[in-house]
C-alpha cells in the first residue's frame, strides 16, 4: 500500500472521537454510581450499540466487560477502516500487538490443554486477523507445535521457529520472542523517511521504554539474574543501552531502586517509587503508563497532522475501556471506592 495517507481526514476524525471520550469530570460520578447505572451511562455514549445489543441479557459486570471488549475491537477496526495509505500502514503495524497477544493466548491455551471455547473467549480480535481466523487456528491445532505450523505465513512464524531452534520450545521463551519480534519488526520495517514515520517511531521508542521498565521492575522485584534480564530488554528504546544494563546489573531490588532514585531517568515515577515496597508495583506501572500517555498527548499537539493523534486516540480509548472495566469489576468485587480511584488512569 502506498500513498501519503489521509492525515487531515483521519486526524480530524480521531480528534472528534477523542473529544467524545468520557471526560475526566465524569469519573467521580461514575465511581458513585452502581454497576447497572454505569451500564446505562455508557449506553448513552459511544457504547450504545453494544449496550443495546447485549443489554437485554444484562447480568452485571460480565455483560459490561463483554460490551467493552466488543467496543474496543469495533473502535480499532473503525480507525483502521478510515486510515489510508502510509497512515494505515503505521496504525495497522501498531495494532498487530493484539495479534501478538492472541498468539500468546493460543499458545498458552494449548500448553494448558484448555478447551477451544475457553481459549476463544480470551481472544480479542482487535489486530489484523479476525475472529474467524483465530477460531481456525485454535480448533485446527492441538499442540504448541501445531499452532506454530498453522501460523506459517504470518509475520511471526519466523520468530517462533527461530526461538524453538535456538532456545527450545519453552512457552515463556516463545512469548518473549514474540513481543520482541513485534517491536523489532516495527523498528526495522519502518524507516524514518517521512515526518509521519519519524513521529511514529518516536512514539514506539517511548513505548519500548515503558515495556522495558515494566520488565525491569518485575524481574528485579523477583530477583532474576541480571544476565537473564538483559536478554529480555527490548533494544531501540529512548533509554540508553548503558543505563538499562546498569539498572539490570544492580544487586537486588533495593539497589535497583536506589539507582533509579538517583538517576532521575523517569521523574514521573518519583513519588510512586517510595511506595513500591508496601503497595506493590501497581502505582509505579500506572505512573509510567500515565507518563507515556501524557507524552503522546503532548506530541500529538505538536504534530497535529501526523500519526500521533491517531495513536493518542487509540491509547486514550484503551485507557477509557480499562478504566470502565476497573470501575465495574472493582464495584462488582466489592473494592471500596478509594481503591478503585487509585487503580484507574485518569488524566
Amino acid at each position: 500500500m502506498t500513498g501519503r495517507g489521509n492525515y487531515a481526514y483521519a486526524c480530524a476524525r480521531v480528534k472528534a472521537k477523542r473529544a467524545m471520550l468520557i471526560p475526566k469530570e465524569a469519573y467521580p460520578r461514575l465511581l458513585a454510581m452502581d454497576v447497572s447505572g454505569i451500564m446505562r451511562f455508557i449506553g448513552e455514549s459511544q457504547y450504545s450499540q453494544e449496550t443495546q445489543e447485549l443489554g437485554i441479557k444484562y447480568t452485571g459486570a460480565e455483560t459490561i466487560e463483554l460490551v467493552l471488549g466488543k467496543n474496543l475491537a469495533k473502535a480499532h477496526h473503525g480507525v483502521l477502516g478510515f486510515c489510508k495509505g502510509e497512515l494505515k500502514e503505521l496504525v495497522s503495524a501498531y495494532m498487530r500487538w493484539w495479534d501478538v497477544r492472541n498468539i500468546k493466548t493460543v499458545l498458552r491455551g494449548k500448553r494448558y490443554n484448555a478447551i477451544p471455547e475457553d481459549i476463544l473467549k480470551a481472544i480479542v480480535p482487535a489486530g489484523e486477523y479476525d475472529e474467524k481466523y483465530w477460531a481456525g487456528i485454535v480448533r485446527g491445532s492441538s499442540t504448541i507445535e501445531d499452532v506454530i505450523e498453522n501460523l506459517k505465513g504470518t509475520e511471526y512464524y519466523g520468530a517462533l521457529v527461530k526461538t524453538r531452534e535456538k532456545l527450545g520450545g519453552d512457552l515463556s521463551r516463545y512469548e518473549n520472542g514474540l513481543e520482541m519480534e513485534y517491536y523489532r519488526r516495527i523498528l526495522d520495517s519502518i524507516k524514518p523517511a517521512t515526518n509521519a514515520k519519524r513521529t511514529f517511531i518516536d512514539f514506539m521508542r517511548d513505548e519500548i521504554d515503558l515495556v522495558n521498565f515494566r520488565t525491569l521492575f518485575m524481574t528485579k522485584f523477583d530477583g532474576v539474574e541480571p544476565k537473564k534480564i538483559i536478554g529480555m530488554l527490548i533494544p531501540g528504546g529512548k533509554m540508553g543501552k548503558e543505563d538499562l544494563h546498569a539498572l539490570a546489573n544492580t544487586d537486588g531490588f533495593g539497589q535497583f531502586m536506589e539507582l533509579l532514585r538517583n538517576t532521575a531517568a523517569y521523574p514521573a515515577i518519583k513519588d510512586e517509587i517510595s511506595q513500591v515496597e508496601s503497595a506493590g508495583l501497581n502505582g509505579v506501572i500506572r505512573a509510567l503508563e500515565k507518563a507515556h500517555a501524557a507524552a503522546v498527548e503532548r506530541m500529538s499537539r505538536l504534530h497535529p497532522l501526523s500519526v500521533l493523534p491517531v495513536m493518542n486516540y487509540i491509547t486514550r480509548k484503551e485507557a477509557e475501556i480499562e478504566n470502565l472495566r476497573i470501575i465495574v469489576r472493582g464495584k462488582a468485587s466489592g473494592l471500596d471506592t478509594e481503591r478503585i480511584r487509585e487503580l484507574i488512569m485518569v488524566m
Binding site: 447497572s36 447505572g37 446505562r40 437485554i56 441479557k57
Partner: protein
C-alpha cells in the same frame, strides 16, 4: 430580546431525609439547571452524594427496555399515534410486564440471529466454493497427495501457463474454468514443484485455499443455494414475528422507557449534589423570575426544612443561557446553536439572524418558482417530522426564506423557474430568448428590475451585495462595540475604528458604482435635495490615484480609522483592516450565487424549451423530462449552495465582528414526557 433570560444562582440546602422530596419537586417544576458538584482534592467533609437505593434496579430495567426497543426496531420506527399511558398503569405492572417483554424479545431476536448466523455461514461457504465452481473435479481430489503438488487459484493468462507447463513436463494435469480471471487447479509431480510455482507466478497466479469438504463444487453450491432459500423464508418469518412483537409492545416499552428514564434521573440526581453526613447541597441556576416561586414551593413541600438561598453572581460565573425570543424567531436559534451557544453576557443575535438569513437566502434564490417550492418543502418538513424539533426548525427557516425568495422573484427579478416574465431591455438581436410572456403568448405585467443574466444586471447585483454587506457588517461592529464596552474599552474603540475604515471603503466602492446609484436614486432626487446636492458631492469629491477615483472622505475616514485602530489595539489591528475589506468583498457571493443559479436555470430552460418547441413529439417528450429533471437539479443545488452561503455570511462575516459564543445551554432538571401522563393526584 437581545439578551437571554436573567438567571439567578441558587443554593438549596436541606437535611438528607428531605432529599427525595426536593428532587421530586425540582424534577416536576423543570426550572433548575443543576451544576454538577466537583469534589475538591483532599476534601473529606463534603463528597458526592450516593444514588438512591432504587437506582440499581431501575437502571437494570432501563437498560433492558432500551435494548429491547432496539432489538425489535422501535427506534427508527415512526410511532403513529401511540396513546399515552398513565404513570400509575406503568408502575402497576412494570416488573411483570418487563419480564414477559424481555423473554419474548429475547427468544425472538435469538431465533433471528441464529438464522442470520446460518445464512452467513452459507454465504461464506458459497463464496469459498464459487471460484472452484467451474472446475469439475471433486474437492477431496484437490488435496492430500504425497507425490503430487496441487496449485489452486486464479491465473491471468491460462494459455501461456498451459504451454509453459506442457513444455516443462507431461506429469501434470490442469483443470480450468474460464471466468473473468481463469480458475485453475494444477497437479504437478513434486519434483517440478518449484519450477511450476515460478511459472505460475509469471502468469499472474493468485493462490486460493481449497475449501474443506468433498464433492463436486458446482453441486455443492447448488445444495447450499437451496438451503439458503429455505433459510431466507425462515428469516422472513422471524422478522414478521418481531414486527408482531413491536406492534404489541410498542406502547408499553416506550412508556416504560420514558418512565424509567425519568425515575433514574431522579434516583441518580444525588450523584450531582454535594453531601455531608446529614445534609445535601444543590448548586443550581434558576431563571430569576422563578426564584421566589420555587422557594415557596420548596418550603411548603418540606415544611421549611429545605431552604433556598440566592447567591451573588460574580463575573467569573458563566450562567447557563436560556434564549428569550419571540416564537417566530425561535426556530432560527438552531442556526446559532450550530455555531455556538451565545455566552450569557453577550448580545443574542437571533433576531437579526432570523431576518438577514432568509433575506440573503431569498435574494440568492430570487425566483418565485423556487420560492414557492421552498415554502412547500418547508411546510412539508414541519408536517412530516413534527416530533423532531430540529427538522421543524429547518422547515420553518426554509419556509421563511421561501417567502423572501418569492418576494424577490416577483418584485425585483421577475423570475419564475429561471425564466423572466418579460424579456430584458438589452436582449441581443437574433438570439432566441424565452420568457413566460412569449411562451404563454400573453403579456404578464411583472417587470424584471434587475436582469440576472445581463451584464448590467450583474453589476447592479454586485452593488446591492456590497450595500447589504456594508449594512450587515456595520451592525456586527455595532454589536461588537456594545459587547466590548463593558469588557474592554480599547477593543470597543478598535471596533469603532474599523467602522470608520469600513465606511470609507464603502464610500469608495459606491463612488465607483456612482452611475448605477444615480440611476436608482433618480426618483428620490426631488424629495431630499440637501442629501443629493450637498452630501453626495461632498462625499464623492476626491482625487484620482492610479486611474481610480478616491474620494477625500474615504481618505479621511481611513486615515482617522487607522490612527484610532493602531492607538487602541496596536499594529496588529491592521490585519483586521485587510480582513474587513475581504469581508466586504465576500458579500459579492450574494450576486455570484444568484447569477450562477440563474444562468444555470436559463441554460437548461433554453435547452429544454428548445427541444419541446422543436415540433418532434419524441424529442418534445424527452425535452419535458429533461426540463423537469434539470429544474429539480437547479432547485436542489441552488438552495443548498444558497443556504450554505447565507449561513456562512452570518457565521464568518457577521459573527466574527462580535460573537464569542461558548455559553452553556440552560438544561432544566426534568424530563419531557411524550408517552406517559403524570399521575393525576400529584398534578397540583
Amino acid at each position: 430580546m437581545f439578551k437571554p433570560k436573567e438567571m439567578g444562582r441558587a443554593v438549596i440546602i436541606g437535611p438528607k431525609p428531605m432529599m427525595k422530596q426536593t428532587v421530586d419537586l425540582l424534577h416536576k417544576m423543570e426550572v433548575a439547571h443543576i451544576l454538577d458538584f466537583v469534589p475538591l482534592e483532599g476534601e473529606t467533609e463534603i463528597w458526592i452524594g450516593a444514588p438512591e437505593n432504587s437506582s440499581a434496579s431501575l437502571n437494570e430495567k432501563l437498560v433492558k427496555m432500551r435494548s429491547g426497543a432496539k432489538l425489535i426496531g422501535l427506534e427508527d420506527w415512526a410511532a403513529p399515534g401511540i396513546e399515552k399511558l398513565s404513570i400509575d398503569e406503568v408502575e402497576k405492572n412494570l416488573d411483570m410486564k418487563i419480564r414477559t417483554v424481555e423473554l419474548n424479545i429475547l427468544s425472538a431476536s435469538e431465533a433471528k440471529s441464529r438464522i442470520e448466523e446460518q445464512l452467513k455461514r452459507i454465504e461464506e461457504r458459497i463464496c469459498e466454493l464459487r471460484p472452484f465452481g467451474g472446475i469439475g473435479i471433486p474437492l477431496e481430489n484437490c488435496r492430500g497427495y504425497d507425490g503430487v503438488s496441487v496449485f489452486a487459484g486464479r491465473v491471468s493468462d491460462i494459455k501461456k501457463l498451459e504451454q509453459a507447463i506442457s513444455k516443462l513436463t507431461d506429469e501434470y494435469e490442469l483443470f480450468s474454468a474460464h471466468g473473468e480471471k481463469s480458475q485453475i487447479a494444477l497437479f504437478v509431480a513434486n519434483n517440478h514443484r518449484e519450477t511450476a510455482a515460478k511459472l505460475l507466478s509469471e502468469c499472474g497466479y493468485e493462490e486460493m485455499r481449497v475449501p474443506d469438504g468433498s464433492g463436486i463444487p458446482s453441486r455443492l453450491i447448488a445444495e447450499q443455494e437451496s438451503h439458503k432459500l429455505g433459510l431466507l423464508e425462515k428469516e422472513d418469518n422471524a422478522k414478521k414475528s418481531i414486527a408482531e412483537l413491536r406492534k404489541r409492545h410498542a406502547q408499553f416499552i416506550l412508556a416504560s422507557e420514558e418512565y424509567l428514564s425519568a425515575e433514574v434521573q431522579k434516583a441518580e440526581a444525588p450523584v450531582r449534589f454535594a453531601t455531608t453526613e446529614h445534609s445535601f447541597i444543590i448548586d443550581c441556576w434558576i431563571p430569576r423570575a422563578k426564584l421566589g416561586e420555587i422557594r415557596s414551593a420548596l418550603e411548603t413541600a418540606t415544611d421549611m426544612e429545605v431552604c433556598l438561598e440566592e447567591i451573588h453572581i460574580s463575573h467569573e460565573d458563566e450562567p447557563p443561557v436560556l434564549l428569550d425570543n419571540p416564537k417566530a424567531v425561535k426556530p432560527f436559534e438552531f442556526l446559532l446553536d450550530a455555531y455556538s451557544t451565545p455566552s450569557y453576557y453577550e448580545i443574542d443575535p437571533s433576531i437579526i439572524l432570523s431576518f438577514v438569513f432568509p433575506l440573503f437566502f431569498g435574494f440568492m434564490i430570487g425566483d418565485v418558482g423556487y420560492g414557492l417550492l421552498m415554502i412547500a418543502s418547508g411546510i412539508a418538513a414541519m408536517r412530516l417530522f413534527g416530533k423532531d424539533e430540529s427538522m421543524k426548525s429547518i422547515g420553518w427557516c426554509l419556509m421563511v426564506s421561501g417567502i423572501f425568495a418569492s418576494l424577490f422573484g416577483v418584485l425585483l427579478f421577475g423570475d419564475m423557474f429561471g425564466l423572466t416574465f418579460q424579456s430584458g431591455a438589452h436582449s441581443v438581436e437574433g438570439e432566441v430568448v424565452y420568457t413566460w410572456s412569449s411562451i404563454l403568448g400573453m403579456d404578464i405585467p411583472i417587470k424584471s428590475l434587475i436582469h440576472k443574466t445581463e451584464a448590467s444586471g450583474v453589476t447592479q447585483l454586485l452593488v446591492i451585495s456590497v450595500i447589504a454587506g456594508y449594512v450587515h457588517i456595520f451592525i456586527g461592529l455595532l454589536f461588537g462595540i456594545i459587547n466590548e464596552w463593558k469588557h474592554d474599552k480599547k477593543h470597543a474603540f478598535g471596533k469603532a475604528a474599523l467602522m470608520m475604515i469600513l465606511t470609507g471603503l464603502f464610500i469608495f466602492m459606491m463612488n465607483m458604482a456612482g452611475g448605477i446609484l444615480a440611476r436608482w436614486l433618480e426618483s428620490f432626487k426631488g424629495s431630499a435635495p440637501w442629501v443629493f446636492d450637498k452630501l453626495a458631492p461632498a462625499l464623492s469629491a476626491g482625487l484620482t490615484i492610479g486611474g481610480m477615483a478616491v474620494p477625500y472622505s474615504t481618505l479621511a475616514l481611513s486615515l482617522a480609522g487607522t490612527a484610532l485602530l493602531v492607538s487602541s489595539i496596536g499594529l496588529i489591528g491592521l490585519i483586521e483592516v485587510l480582513e474587513i475589506s475581504g469581508h466586504l468583498v465576500s458579500y459579492t457571493r450574494l450576486a455570484a450565487i444568484g447569477v450562477a443559479k440563474g444562468a444555470m436555470a436559463m441554460a437548461f430552460n433554453t435547452l429544454g424549451i428548445g427541444m419541446i418547441a422543436s415540433g418532434n413529439i419524441a424529442i418534445g417528450i424527452f425535452g419535458v423530462v429533461v426540463l423537469v429533471a434539470m429544474q429539480m437539479l437547479v432547485f436542489v443545488l441552488g438552495s443548498m449552495s444558497s443556504g450554505i452561503q447565507a449561513i456562512r455570511l452570518q457565521y464568518v462575516e457577521f459573527f466574527m465582528k462580535f460573537y464569542k459564543g461558548g455559553g452553556t445551554k440552560f438544561k432544566p432538571f426534568g424530563y419531557e414526557r411524550k408517552y406517559t401522563i403524570e399521575k393525576s393526584g400529584k398534578a397540583d
